[in-house]
């Protein structure tokens, strides 16, 4: 098997607990992401999702383990890894357009001014920001528009890996929906590799190719890797009709509600990879296999 585009190997993070000991956030976390893949990571707060994100972004150093991208050891922040932060992190003294050109001219220093502006405007248009709005300051934009600018800035840089840290966490449900659609649109245009943190199960199913499930901290682990067997393009309205949708959703809910706590704190072997899970009701819809049906039963219990 070839090495994946991004491989996380034996990642461990410990903090001193203030009493001479150490608090282990996660230990020996290993997983891989393929090029062009959209991967979401789900888990309860405190399980270390954001820590993994910060390590991937190069903003934090792990206690142990390595991150390799394209076979190269990753250390420190880099333009190859773009980040969309939960709180937008736009520079408030720059207009929306300038916030994007700020990134683009850092990424492509050889480009002329006109080309930078053209490229930035195009990406702002992709997330639905055109006309007057792109010359406004972030404080004059709504939360949803700010996050659009932030997404445009990240995509316009065309990084090898795009990291999204709960990008829709602070948005209302309606805005969230529209921006998710826009994110999908931009992503399918660009073949970007995306790694995203989220709390929202439906969001993860809509967006991801694969969902990584984390157990509760401390000593959290990446326990499962659930493949989303719903064909693209996915439309919010239609995917709920797909036979796999509730099967997958129930599996995820069950994991988060129950098994994430049960599995928590269990020692992990150093070479353990997340257990691949594939739920596909369409393959043998006629057969009387009880196994895939269990998730539905679980949902009724929950």
């Amino acid at each position: 098997m070839t090495k994946p585009f991004l491989s996380i190997e034996h990642l461990t993070q410990r903090y001193p607990d203030g009493q001479g000991g150490a608090f282990t956030v996660f230990e020996n976390a290993s997983f891989g992401i393929d090029k062009g893949e959209f991967v979401c990571i789900l888990g309860h707060s405190g399980c270390g999702k954001s820590t993994i994100m910060n390590i991937l972004a190069g903003l934090a150093e792990p206690t142990g383990g390595v991150v390799k991208m394209d076979g190269m050891h990753v250390s420190g922040p880099s333009l190859d890894r773009g980040v969309v932060f939960q709180n937008y992190s736009l520079l408030p003294w720059l207009s929306a357009l300038k916030n994007v050109t700020f990134g683009v001219s850092a990424r492509f220093p050889s480009w002329g001014k006109a080309r930078v502006i053209e490229h930035s405007t195009a990406f702002l248009a992709k997330v639905g920001l055109t006309g007057d709005a792109i010359h406004r300051k972030p404080s004059q934009l709504s939360g949803g528009m700010r996050q659009r600018v932030s997404i445009a800035r990240a995509f316009a840089n065309e990084p090898k890996l795009l990291l999204l840290d709960e990008p829709f966490g602070a948005l209302d449900a309606l805005t969230r929906g529209t921006i998710q659609d826009e994110l999908i649109k931009v992503w399918s245009d660009t073949d970007q590799t995306v790694f995203m943190i989220t709390h929202d199960i439906d969001e993860a199913i809509l967006l991801a190719d694969r969902i990584l499930l984390m157990t509760n901290g401390p000593m959290a682990q990446v326990a499962e890797s659930v493949e989303i067997t719903i064909p693209r393009p996915r439309v919010r309205n239609d995917i709920v009709e797909h036979p796999n949708y509730y099967a997958i959703r129930n599996h995820l809910v069950h994991f988060l509600a129950q098994r994430s706590a049960e599995l928590s704190g269990q020692a992990q072997t150093p070479d353990q990879q997340p257990k691949p899970v594939r739920i596909d009701m369409t393959e043998d819809a006629d057969s009387e296999d009880p196994e895939p049906a269990t998730p539905i039963l679980r949902a009724v219990e929950g």
Partner: protein, 277 residues
Amino acid sequence: MKTLSENRKAALLSILILIVSCLIWEASIPAQKAVGELTEYELLTGGGQPKAGVPPPSQVLAKAWEQLSNPFYDAGPNDKGIGIQIGYSIYRVLTGYLLAAAIAIPLGFLIGMSSVAYKALNPFIQVLRPISPLAWMPLALFVIQDSEMSAIFVIFICSIWPMLINTAFGVAGVREDWVNVARTHELSALKTAFTVILPAAAPTIVTGMRISIGIAWLVIVAAEMLVGGTGIGYYVWNEWNNLDLTSVIFSILMIGVVGMLLDSLFGLLQRTVAYTE
């Protein structure tokens, strides 16, 4: 009838207060006449000196008109136009102030970026800051041996602290997220300083600059009273020695007006660098 806007009402009220207080001032000062018969000497010198007293506003206005219609005349060391005197003061303030800014802002940047530098320099700042700038004057005169430079030094030492402290505070308070944006865009340290930290800290820095220029203008008057020679502070003191209270009141007003102009200049600068999160 249309109601006046709030600003117009306020302006009208201001003018009214000005006129009323001037009238009260004018009325409260008794007309001054030479009392009794004139002596032979007084007759020879052309009338008696009126008793010194606070002049009425009409006299101050007349003085202001006289001075402002020819602000730049120079009739010897003790008789220069108000424009020249203010010019000297502004020159001293700006020289000392710009020197202070040239040191305080870069140093404040360093202190703000490094908590070690902050902790190391903080005791010095805390001790030096509350010293009245005029207390430095004797030492400055002795070391520098030049009254002009000593006045500039006093301005320098009084305006450095608010700028230093505010710059350090502003730089240290730059949101981690914005620094992370710079880091994920692989900006060099210098580029981060100029494109992210400086604009982010600019409102705080400019506030410090505004406080400093205000203090510098307060201090220059006192400093010039001590060093003498030229400047608005010297002018006030000189007119006091001449017992020309009309000029004293006029120059007090001028100090206020120039101070207001300097402050509003920085107010403008503050508005251009302001941002809302």
